[in-house]
Symmetry: C2
Subunit: 199 residues, 2 copies
């Protein structure tokens, strides 16, 4: 005997969530059935609405339910001449929260990863190339992650921009604010030393 058909179906469907295996899915299903049916119905509607209506912004590839996202539609930002390239929509929010940047974005929705079969077309570099040619971009700020794949992606895009004569920059690397030297790894500390600034 297993669970009743609808319960089994719900448990199986919940495993489509990343990091949710069969045991967690059971726990979630019973929690919702027993304690939060209203929340589960809200989730059902939210999933349906988002999957049906959310698409990619036609300029920056971020998620939006309109043709252009909130940032790209703002002429002050899209005509600032600054383009910040990030890997994910979460990174856009992270940069926005600094309130230090007033330009526009391009969201790769991934990173170059030849081993996983993710090439330039998969992260929209053909579209980026079009933007660099058509728009008046003065500086491209590379804000991909400082992982091996993020760095490789940044290098690839730098080459692309250089061939079009556009200035590129990369986020600074160094000791984080509030960081204690003793707990910072050697590579970061070495980089911070090499990029030291006069005071």
């Amino acid at each position: 005997m297993k669970y009743s058909p609808l319960v089994s179906q719900l448990i199986k469907a919940l495993t489509c969530l990343p990091g949710v295996g069969n045991k967690s899915a059971q726990r979630m299903a019973f929690h919702l059935l027993e304690r939060n049916r209203e929340g589960a119905l809200d989730l059902s509607r939210a999933l349906h609405d988002a999957m049906e209506h959310v698409r990619h912004c036609e300029r920056c590839r971020n998620f939006t339910e309109s043709t252009l996202c909130e940032i790209c539609i703002d002429p002050k930002r899209s005509q600032s001449g600054l383009l910040c390239i990030v890997e994910s929509p979460q990174d856009v929010v992270a940069v926005e929260q600094t309130a230090e940047y007033r330009g526009s974005y391009f969201v790769l929705m991934g990173r170059l990863s030849p081993l996983d079969g993710i090439g330039p077309a998969d992260i929209g570099l053909d579209k980026l190339s079009g933007i660099l040619e058509e728009e008046d971009i003065q500086e491209v700020i590379l804000a991909t992650n400082f992982t091996i794949e993020g760095e490789a992606t940044a290098h690839y895009i730098t080459d692309m921009c250089r061939s079009k004569g556009i200035v590129t920059s990369r986020l600074a690397q160094g000791v984080p604010i509030g960081g204690e030297l003793e707990h910072v790894d050697g590579t970061t500390l070495g980089r911070a030393l090499a990029s030291r600034s006069q005071i």
Copy 2:
């Protein structure tokens, strides 16, 4: 700037799942939007169907979409005279998987926990009392967890059965199969010694 309205709504709705906070919900939402829209739509439908149609079996309180669950509807099992009392639907499946038990169940959907305000009525003991009076039950097997609350619940039900003159039993405690004495905790080993059986 935050995410677009439908994306924000999806992230918020996902936090209704147990163990899912804001960061995990973001990761889930972007994973579904980017990589598994079909799975997300299936999940939406499964949630809706389960929440609308799944209810409690009128006899044993387990989840089912019918009036009586698969086990209670089987006369061989409901007339076996054996009633196994468990805390959750997962426990029914665990006992079923042993293939050692052919009686029926009563699912408490919780355990007595006065500190959390969970009393006898919340775990359906009034309904259990009705079953014990109306049906021909020869033995009640207490298969609640061996936690403090599970034990307290078992004691409470034992008293209830005793007042009606029904035999009750509890799952045996001891060293698990494949267990090494050196790694078994003292209380369990003490209980195994006290309940030793002649060979």
